[in-house]
Structure formats: structure tokens, C-alpha cells
């Protein structure tokens, strides 16, 4: 056993033997990394300030002390190359987990992700494997300005060879990250900056749903609301308000954006006959377009009206707080869209 591949000792500083029943999302990710690193020496983490500093959103906190600098590597500001480093290491036996500090910087690493990681298995005639995980926080947080408030789902979901996850709860974050690390394919894990410090129930014993499965967060018979990340909470809030008027909205948390769980969506819309996609990103050409288009194709004759989308305004994110809030969907917008859809009758009406 090499010194450099330090195995965890019995420090137990991070992972409580009995995990608490509630965890914050960052803690869930942290525990997932710790579990996988303890179990498999090939797993290592790299990114800016993931080591000594503990990660800008704390996700890697404590791992540096526990596993040493070779398995928890602080990198220079070289997104293109340290993501590509992950690809190279994955080709020869490593299971790297790259953290890109925020999704905004992933624009510098797309060659490594799209041209290299996603294509190497196919281009090599299925002779190479790239078991790489690239994690990145994103979304609109609190007045971070246009260059730090992006959602880049659309850059990844179109790419054959990639899998794209979007966990929104501590339980999902924990399991989906573990599933991703054990997967043989390159996987992009999109995290939302505003969810890291939210708490949620956590049960390490409960069997996780399939990695790409969607989950119904609230059942309902009248309308299907489809969302992921923070927009699930917005939908749940909207569903509460709608329920007060007797409208029962079903809220689906997609959890995965490539593939999407079309069977579940199809089934839901088969019951509700109406759906709304709620997306934080700008509407035009966002991931929501695919969801709407695919679901429409699958369920057209069950639909009583078009699948509409409530999404971010078509602007770079403004710094000013009120404008920023106005640029992303809220529960009121969802409620209004549902009402409008229910009022809308067919063409002749």
C-alpha cells in the first residue's frame, strides 16, 4: 500500500458511525465521498481548494486530513486541464471525482468533458472506459452576478456518452453520488448552490431508487409539475397553494436529466392530462424543451393542452436583488401558469 494512496484511519472525524437522521446536502455529499474513498483506493478527489480549505461549499471538508494530498488534490486554476487529468487517470484505473468550483467555470472544461470523456469509449471501439465523475454547483444563488449564476444543463444533456444527474435532496445527493462514482461511464453531477445548506431526512439503510429514476414528491390527479433541483421546492409550494383551491398538482422531481425518466412522466400525464415543466434556466433551448418535446411526443393524445414551460427570463442574471428574483420562476408564476392552462379550453371554445 502506497503512502500516497492513504487509506482512512480510524479518525471518524467526518462520518459518524450512526448517521444522524437529518443531514444538510453538503454533509450528505461529504459522507458519500468518504464512504467511497474508504472503500476503494482508486477513488480520489481533485479541484480548486478541495483540500486544505475543505471545498468552497464544504463538500470535501475533512477528507484531506483523512486521505492525504494525493487523494484529495488542490489544483491550480486550470479547469480544462485538471478535468482532462481526470479523464487520463480514469483511463488507467483511477476513479477520479473532479470538482469544478462552479458550473460557470465548466465552460473552460467542456473539451475535456464532451470531446474526451464522452467519446473515448465509443471512439476506441468500446475498448476504453472513463469512470469519471465531474461535480459542479450551479444555479442562481444570491446576487452573484451574470458570470456566476448560470445553469448549463443544455451543454451536457445533448451529449451521447454522458449521464447527467441533478440531485436535490440530501438522500438523493448521497446515493446518486455513490452510484455515479461506481459507474463505468462519465457522469456530470449538477448541484445547486442554494441547496447545500438545506437539511433533509437521511437514511443510509434505505435502498436508493435507480440512479436515473424520477420520484413523485407529491401525488396529485389534476396536473403534473416537472422540475429538478430547487424548482422542486417551488413546485411543492405552488402545489400547496393550488390545493387550497382544490387543484391537486403532482410534483415530479426528475433527479436525472440524461436520461430522463420518460416512463414515469408518461404515466403521470396519462392520469393528469396536463403538465408544466418548471426550469430555473432560460426557457429558450433549455433542458425543459427536451422534456416538453419528448413528453408531448409520447403523450400527445392524452394531453388536454400543450405542455407549457415556466422558466427563467431570457436575460443574463442581473446583480440587483429584485431583478435577480424576477429573473427566475417562483411559486406564484407556477400557480398562474397552472391556472391559465386549466382555464384554457380547446381552439373553438
Amino acid at each position: 500500500m502506497s503512502q500516497r494512496r492513504r487509506r482512512s484511519g480510524n479518525l471518524g472525524v467526518i462520518a459518524p458511525a450512526e448517521p444522524a437522521p437529518e443531514l444538510r446536502l453538503w454533509e450528505a455529499l461529504n459522507l458519500a465521498l468518504d464512504r467511497e474513498m474508504a472503500q476503494d483506493d482508486a477513488v480520489f478527489v481533485l479541484g480548486e481548494d478541495v483540500g486544505l480549505y475543505g471545498g468552497s461549499y464544504r463538500v470535501t471538508q475533512g477528507l484531506w486530513a483523512r486521505y492525504g494530498e494525493w487523494r484529495v488534490r488542490d489544483t491550480p486554476i486550470s479547469e480544462g486541464s485538471f478535468t482532462g487529468l481526470g479523464v487520463g487517470a480514469a483511463l488507467v484505473g483511477g476513479r477520479p471525482v473532479v470538482e469544478i468550483m462552479t458550473v460557470n467555470f465548466a465552460l473552460l472544461a467542456l473539451d475535456a468533458i464532451i470531446n474526451m470523456a464522452a467519446k473515448l469509449r465509443y471512439m476506441s471501439g468500446n475498448r476504453l472506459a472513463v469512470p469519471l465523475v465531474v461535480r459542479m454547483p450551479g444555479g442562481v444563488a444570491h446576487q452573484l452576478g451574470a458570470q456566476h449564476s448560470q445553469r448549463l444543463e443544455h451543454c451536457f444533456v445533448n451529449v451521447p456518452g454522458l449521464r447527467v444527474l441533478a440531485p436535490g435532496t440530501p438522500q438523493d445527493a448521497y446515493w446518486q453520488l455513490r452510484q455515479a462514482i461506481r459507474d463505468e461511464d462519465p457522469i456530470v453531477v449538477l448541484e445547486h448552490e442554494l441547496l447545500y445548506f438545506e437539511s433533509g431526512p437521511f437514511d443510509e439503510q434505505a435502498a436508493p431508487p435507480p440512479m436515473h429514476a424520477a420520484v413523485v414528491r407529491r401525488p396529485g390527479r389534476d396536473f403534473t409539475l416537472i422540475a429538478w433541483h430547487r424548482m422542486v421546492q417551488v413546485c411543492l409550494e405552488a402545489a400547496d397553494r393550488l390545493a387550497a383551491d382544490g387543484i391537486e398538482a403532482e410534483v415530479v422531481d426528475l433527479r436525472s436529466l440524461r436520461p430522463i425518466d420518460l416512463p414515469l412522466l408518461r404515466e403521470s400525464v396519462g392520469r393528469t392530462h396536463r403538465a408544466l415543466v418548471v426550469e430555473e434556466d432560460c426557457l429558450f433551448g433549455g433542458a425543459g424543451a427536451e422534456i416538453a418535446a419528448a413528453l408531448t411526443e409520447a403523450a400527445f393524445f392524452d394531453l388536454e393542452g400543450p405542455i407549457r414551460r415556466v422558466a427563467g427570463a431570457d436575460v443574463p442574471t442581473p446583480y440587483n436583488g429584485e431583478l435577480e428574483a424576477a429573473s427566475i420562476p417562483d411559486a406564484a408564476a407556477v400557480v398562474a401558469a397552472v391556472r391559465a392552462a386549466l382555464e384554457q379550453a380547446g381552439p373553438g371554445a
Binding site: E48, I77, G145, D314, N320
Partner: protein, 325 residues
Amino acid sequence: MQRSLIRQFYRDMLLARQFEEAAAEQYRQGRIAGFLHLYPGEEAVAVGTLRAADPGDYVVSTYREHVHAMVRGIPPEAVMAELFGRAGGCSRGYGGSMHLFSPEHRFLGGYAIVGETFPVATGVGYWLRMTDSADAVLCYFGDGAVNQGTFHESLNMASLWKLPILFVCENNHYQIGTEIHRHSALAEVHRRACAYGMLGRRVDGMDVLAVYEASREALAQVRSGAGPFLLECETYRYRGHSMADPASYRSAIEVEELRARDPLASLWRKAEAAGWMTADERRAIEAEVTAAVDGAVAFAEQSPPPTELQAGVYARPLDLYRGAP
């Protein structure tokens, strides 16, 4: 060195210091949000380099750019109002702390993605040389930014085409929590110039006079057509990387040692000893600066917010557009 210039330096640096401390206070009070990166400790760099520049020169800076903006002539009011996200801000409240702009001051930003200042400056320099302009560009970046690919790509082009650019490295030895020896194989940033057949030099970035002299010489070279210059200013930031960073990765001793070389205190010591500035003059500057900072905060508080969500995404609406010809 002219007395008036010394006083200017002192005033600039004091304004820088007090403005940033006021911004920190406003942040704590919740009037400023987002990421806020402050400049205390590094004042001599912006002041020394920018006071050596001509009014026609362009400036391209990072997210730690409030001071650069003010030395360049953008009123503190307009900077503070931008931090508040108000319409009176130099970016009308749309940009925020990391995105200050003012074309009439030839201040081109305010970039929050590390490494973007290199290509922007290279583009400006290209245009200047293509149009035979006598102006130059000052391009700022940190020690962490030099490991971004754009540093390399841009410096190669700038040197290849002899573009009039002064590349100013604000080497505060940290890339957030990662000390320079842990992010760079070669910790002496100016020596990287060797890879581009370029001139480079290191200067004490806590000494505004040294920075000023070095910048004047470098800018003269840059303007002469000899090509770009890499000026490394060794400096230190007193605070954490941003308001979110308690900076627990460095020792109290380290901070104390560096604070002992404070650019303001040492300029004052020199100025007093040499008789360049009297205590009265200093007090007058202090009073003036305090008033300016208070005024900036007051202006920002009263400035209305911007109201148009859609304004300025495009020059004209995203309609079908019948083109110009």
C-alpha cells in the same frame, strides 16, 4: 518625485482602504450581497501602476477591482452604488461588485472568471496596434490566474505581435486558500515571461513609489513598440479572499509580518521623513477621504434600483431584424 504626486498616492491609497472597509461594513449590514473581494493591503499596486498610466490607456481588471476603478476616475459614489445594485452604479446595478465598467474612463471591467482579463486586454492591444494608436492597456490578474490557459495563449500572442500591454500580476501569494507554492511550479511569476521572449520584472508591491517607477519604465517600453511587459507586484491581502472567507489557512504571524509593511504607513513614514507631506496635510486628506466615502455610501443608499429586467440584453430586440445593408 513631486510632492503633489506623493499626496495623490497617499490620498488614493487612503480612499482605497477606507472605501473597502466601508464596503465590508455595508456588506455586514446586508446592503451589499454576492461575492465581495476587498483590496486592503494591495493598494500600492493599483495606485502605483495606474498613476503611471496615461488617461488614454485602457484598463482591464478582475473581480477585485473597486480600487482600480476609483483610481481611474470612476467616482466612489458610482462604485458604491454598483455594490448596492443601484441604478446610480457604474454598471447601473446590473453588474455588481465583480463587474464594474465605464467606457468613458476606458475602464473595461470587472471580470469574474479567472483568466478572462488576458484575452480581453490582448484584443484591446491588438486594436490599438492595428490602428497605430499611442495608447496602451493595463491588464490585471492574480497569482492564481497565471495557471489559466489564457495567460499562456494571450501572452504568446501579445509578444508575437508586439502589442502594447502592461501585464500586472497582483501576486498576493494566494489563490483563495491555496498558497502559491502549492499552485505554481515556478513561484516567481515574472520569470514566466521567459517563455514568450518577453520582458518581466518583480517589484515590491507594498511600496507605491517602487511600483510607480517600475510601471513608468515598463509603460515606456510597451509604448515604444518593444512589445508587452510582465510586471509582478509582490503584495498581500489582509482580509480573506472574499467576505465569505475567514482565511484560516494562514497564520497570524504571517499576517502580522506583512501588515508591518503596510503600504500606507510606510509611505507616510517616508513622506514625513523627507518632508513631502506634513501632518496637517495628512489630516486634511483624511478628512476629505472620510467625507468622500461617507458620501459614496449616502449616494448609494439613495440611488434607486434598476427596474428593467430586459434592458440591454441586445442592442435591439431579438426580433427578425431586417439587416443594415
